[in-house]
Symmetry: D2
Subunit: 259 residues, 4 copies
């Protein structure tokens, strides 16, 4: 299969599926699920890699030669906290890569557009490779691009809901306008959702809850892997367009009864 | 991968993707697309296998040891015509398998429930392995099951529209109630649609227009193959349930800023 | 307001909202809710009008000079039972009008297309004004029309679910093809659903659960009344068409900043 | 009907339908359509009220004792231009009311969250009654509320598309969290869309394209008026909840055939 690879910040990714590390039953299950998924980009909250005190050893499950670690700033509430967390993450994990997420509201965990833009600008200047998690807001995505983010990560639906591409119409616009990779993040609850995002032309997707909370996270890792690849191939194959209501037979009508 | 195989009428199918033969640019493209799809069940309108006069040689592209041929009665308008066409098909192709489709209306090509049930009953008695194409009507599907059809083929959307699972709610009921395989047919316009049907628990899907009219039908064949497998694996992995609106973080919130 | 009236079987209806009588907390609430709804067509299950034994007096709440009673055959499982029930209903209520509903399955209460067509044909011959409740099956609706039903009543969603127009695509075809009034029945859970059906060109809608189980059924009766009228007026006003994604300003862009 | 009135910035509105002034065929049609709609809040682009040169006299059609004029900043591209336009508008129309809209992109006309927040803060301080037009971004809406806007106007779909409530899930969150009125703006293409927004608990809706481009804008004005009222009444009546798929009969099943 000769699908073009994804490139972010000059790094090549053979997989267009990004994964998270939360909610898994154990480190072993997590490792096997992520292996099955084929992912090469793994995000984690900073708390999981605490330097002091007993950490959960998450890093041990994720060999650095295999995965690009993508620390995220989940839990911060404004740009200042985000910048602080980013520097901590860089030091702890020895990586410039950062998933920037700022959600002041603990109930819906939706991102703050204004703080995110401010933090992104500052972090880009400080040498970070910034991938901001944002609402599916086309104008915000363009502004983030202008300050130099490496990709944008608009949400499909509120995080953890498994609802799929509720923001479909806006993702289409974002993809149409983007000059950086678009990674659809949050809300993808099934392989079909991931496939749909890829068919629309998204460059990658990020999935966590749907993998980690499946009855069989390893098998589900494989399912998402295949769905993402299927969606990408379909995009490259020129997916047929939906047509309104008047049907057309797949087969020419038989004439043999009338002849 | 240890996915249970599909069995219809005691025959084992390793692929859960059924394909059609209409609308392809050439016989060669058709053959390559179907090969890429991994399908083992291929449907065709009887006109394509005309016995007299110059036929289009469609059969030559489909080796019998590789594909179960599934002649369909597309073009007939009532039970009587369908039964007549079925017998012709059996003789011409030397197979008992039959996709029964009766659509009196040339505009939308939607199936007739009453004629379909009557023809199905008669054809089952005459020894056919009958797979009827029907509206996503749960009661009709049960009645067809009662007269002995080998599978039911409810539609996802009007044929040729590529709209996807417009009949989602009713397919769920059909799948919940069925004691024979459920093959979602018509309207599947993208691999994500096929994956979704499989995630819901459909036993197989049939695709034609979306394959044959893709810019690259061969690559698209592969995309559908992978999507169908992904959807099936997800179904077996226990797909997570969609949750209403209140978000839950994938990652535990970081505490490091507050400590 | 000069909206054309609905005519079924030569009878004029000023309201395009049909209502049911089930699930109300009391006869008084039912009467007031129906009054508020402005409905002139009221359906009821035959059990509610039992001739022997203590009935619930439902008829007393529904003056005959104000409402066309539409007895329904809810509970019957095949054509034979339906025909029997229809004759009982005619005798009991002294009306030829009949909502024909046949659902053999007690779980989802979906209608049987084959039995419904058979019963409709027989009942039309016996002089009934037949309004069959059916799945949103365009071919079945045409066949019912051919045997002489006075209107067709396709469902929007499984009864009692309040899900709205899940069968939208098929209702569009039914409305496009129909030569008798189309009454969208079942599943309408909100005034917006009723308005949408009317905007699509439905001739009327039938609502029960959403009225009877509202916190305030009387106020909700008014809400449905207004929504149905609004939808009808919109249909007559030439509703604007949905356009795909590229926006167009409602207002001409201001030039004053550039000048 | 005893529906609670809408109050914004201490002003009472008897109508929850706001309208625009663009795209009408003539001033007379506009006036009649708006009259039919019952609206008391009318927005207009500043260009329409040009002080110098021949204006289109739009103001003459809109008596000040009947309508609250809501000048909008359509066409500006950043906060600075918006503030300038706002001051011009206040002077020209002698009103503090302002619909703040900033969309740097001429293709999709989607609002800029960062510029909008900055402009809103400054304009509130300058004594304006600010109603910002924004993406359906719950966090942004809270931040606008914190700087003192009088209401928030999240979009339902890209302006002019008539697609309805594409942002449904996010509007629910915005409404759930808001302490100021929520006015759903943009994309409402049919009365049913407006009714749905009101049923969800929106405080008002703004419609322009769907009115102005209807075949009969005056009749359509009435349709929207009724639909908005119907939706509001339904909200106050406690709309029944959608239930998943298992049906429940509206009428108790008849027992008479079994007895």
């Amino acid at each position: 299969m000769n699908t073009k690879s994804l490139i972010i910040a000059d790094q090549i990714f053979n997989s267009r599926l990004f994964v998270g590390t939360g909610k898994y039953a154990s480190g072993t299950v997590m490792r096997e699920s992520i292996e099955a998924s084929g992912s090469e980009m793994v995000t984690m909250a900073m708390k999981r890699v605490q330097l002091n005190g007993p950490d959960d050893g998450i890093i041990n499950y994720l060999p650095r030669d295999r995965y690009q670690l993508l620390p995220n700033t989940s839990g911060v509430r404004d740009a200042k906290e985000a910048v602080f967390a980013a520097h901590l993450a860089r030091e702890a994990l020895q990586t410039n890569w950062l998933k920037l997420e700022i959600h002041p509201d603990p109930k819906y965990l939706l991102p703050d557009p204004v703080e995110t833009l401010a933090a992104a600008e500052e972090l880009v200047k400080a040498g970070f490779i910034v991938l901001p998690y944002v609402h599916a807001d086309p104008v915000l995505c363009k502004r983030l691009e202008e300050v130099g983010v490496a990709a944008v990560m608009p949400l499909g639906a509120p995080i953890g809901t498994n609802l799929g591409l509720e923001t479909r119409r806006f993702l289409e616009i974002i993809i149409d306008q983007a000059n950086v990779p678009v990674v659809v993040d949050a809300g993808l609850g099934a392989p079909s959702h991931a496939a749909e995002a890829m068919e629309m032309g998204a460059d990658a997707v990020l999935v966590n809850t749907a993998l980690a909370t499946a009855a069989d996270p390893v098998k589900m890792g494989l399912a998402f892997k295949m769905a993402v690849e299927a969606g990408r191939i379909a995009f490259e194959s020129g997916k047929a367009v939906s047509r309104q209501i008047e049907a057309e037979a797949s087969s020419p009508l038989t004439a043999f009864l009338d002849s």
